[in-house]
Amino acid sequence: MEKKMKFDNIPVEKFQFARRDNDVILDKKFSTKPVGYFKDCMRRFRKNKSSVIAAYIILLLFLFALIVPFVSHYNVSFRDGYYKLAPPKFAPLAFLGWDGCTDRTEGQAGYDYYKSIGVEYGSSSVKKVKNVKTDETTGKPFYTIYVDDYEKVGFVYVDLSEKEYNALKEYQNKTKIQVAYPIPENYKTNFLAVNGANLWYELADNTPSTSGASKYHDDNGDPIYKAAYRTSKKETSAKYDSLKLAEDKGGEDGKSWYVYAVKNQSGYRMRVLYKEYYMYQNGFYPEHIFGTNQDGQDLFACMAVGARVSFLISLSVVLVVIPFGLCYGAIEGYYGGAIDLFLERISDIIYGIPLIVVAALCNMHLLKKIGPVLTTWLIFIIVDWLGIAARVRTQFYRFKGQEYVLAARTLGASDKRLIFRHILPNSLGTIITGTILIIPGVISSEIMFAYLGIVSFQTSNIISMGTLLSQGESYLATYPHILLFPACYIALLEIAFNLFGNGLRDAFNPSLRGADE
């Protein structure tokens, strides 16, 4: 101290600036930017190829969920009774077998029936006859045929009001697309049968329970179809004045015309080609990229909505859970002692309740009041902060006794400042990676609850992946596509998320730095 005093009165002139004249710094100046913790982490993350790919897959699946509901013709409430359990069909990739066709084994009657559908407009629902076998005992043939499941819907009867009838006629006249076809002779007996409108030819057996065998066959056993339409002497019976079949020229004598509509009490009954009628009503042809389920819902659109629900729930859960878990864990870890003991008991209790019990109780109490999405959200809010809190707590116990914290405290830093500015940033890496891995957990649990029926998504415009799974379960043997597509989506999403999370964890773990090189 005394020594220092001596220099008190050195005159200013004795001082001079070092190297003021040319301002050259002899140290090397860094031309690169400094690399901080996060930048270093990102750099190491990018080295991990599988995690990067996983990140792109997640992005892709997320975009699927985001975009498809806007683009698709279909939504969850769209149901079509005639295209139930339709197989996947995607025209650009039809050559890969993605063509909406399935194999069937049929007897003669079934073969005639499927072959007949589409003959009237120059096509057939049977795309290929793969195999013909003759039954040894009866001598009857059995066909293995490749049937277009979309075309096989064929014709249906519809009852239209006067107004709808006129509108349909107008549509036909305008577009020159034939929707209405002549009504068969047997329509009164076959009207109630599911396939009634498709039995337009002369049948071998004309009883109401007919299965579709044609009356005439050529030498190869192939059916010869002779139309058995209802006829009328008036050309415009039931005021039908629109497109007609080419061969409908009033028979030979110009006196018996085909009947296209029958008047009944409420309006008109017609026989329409369903795919054109569908076009007329909806503005697009039926094509379900992932097929449909037993309610006739489009799986492609339903999956996108289900995925949206999953993403929405998991992301919003994380958003709420992180701040809460952080604060809870920070308070536990920082203050310790009695506060820690008390708060630990609370989290012990919540941790002790099985997740499924929490879910069931929430469902019983809240489902009717706040709906399935909020209920599911709440279930995970109740449970998922525990992990973060525990993680933060251990980090706090680790860091709070260290010298730099003591130094900060000595300088007069408040508790708040110590917690948020000094200790928390140190544990940020582990917290981030921990929370990334919460997302796939929430998604799979959400799907599981919906699948098990613990939280029921029975509203009209929202569906969960789990609901799709439980619907598809009973058709696993016959229509595996209903289950396959959602299951694949979930599997891909879960794998990608876990890979991504693991990559992130390794990147954020400073102790692994340089370990792999």
């Binding site: 002790g352 109780l361 019983m364 979930i490 599997a491």
Partner: protein
Amino acid sequence: MRTLKYVIKRILLMIMTYVIIMTICFVLIKMLPLPAVREMGKDINLILAKREAMGYNKPILVQYFLFWKNLLLYGDFGLGEQMYVGQDVMKIMLQKIPYSVTVNLYSILIAVPLGIMFGIYAALKKNKWQDHFISTLVMVFISVPSFVYAFVVQYFLCFKTGWFSLTAASRETTPFISLAMFKSMFPAVISMAFSTIAGLCRFTRAELAEVLTSDYLLLARTKGLTKRQAIIRHAMRNAMVPILPMILGEFIGILGGSLIIEKIFSIPGIGALFLTSIGLRDYNFFMALNMFYTLIGLVGNLIVDLSYGFIDPRIKMGER
């Protein structure tokens, strides 16, 4: 002495947690409107009488004490009201447990040796293609939810090839420990085993890989042990310290069964019972199964925690 004190403290804490959880569940269930009893001949009178005896029309606090009294004195949870109408809840539960235990036991007996074996193999071949192959598979089986591969198993083993029946055999026709029963449960058993194998494999690989690079293993090799001796006598024994509690935890989980697997493969176990009780809103069953599952969870955690100290004397319990 210190250990004993710690164990007793943990057990008391566990009991306290358990009672609090049960109280919360009980109150939450009692807050729900009481479901109507479906008309079932004379059963309806039986159930109404039982409800009266259990104080269903009295305040919740009275019901609560009656519930504990009945439970502790007679082991009585009441009667099934919506399912197994008029039958004793406890009896039905005890009937169902063997199914779950059998499936779980088989799956663990398959999974534990396989998981550890694959884990050891992967650790020994670390960073070679065998390790990458196993690790990739493990990653897939850990990430993919069990119901997805249960469907795959069901599709291929039950529908495509038709090797296995769709549902488990009934206990009336086939004894529990028999080949026929095992065969009927096989798809469920392996679906359940997959995740256990994957989990154990990953854990074993990580532990063993860490131990293999440690100094004392180098010392063991230096003093003349063969690689095999060093691994079996030194590395494995140390790696087992965290693995054994994990296996122990699996064994305690046996009782609970797996909800999903039991539903998919229609195994009439306790998990399926729990799901039905939730679906049909049978609160007596629901409460009883809540207690059962919570107890398994808490006891499992406790035993796993304590077992570290017993397996490895170096870990001192009750010290901070």
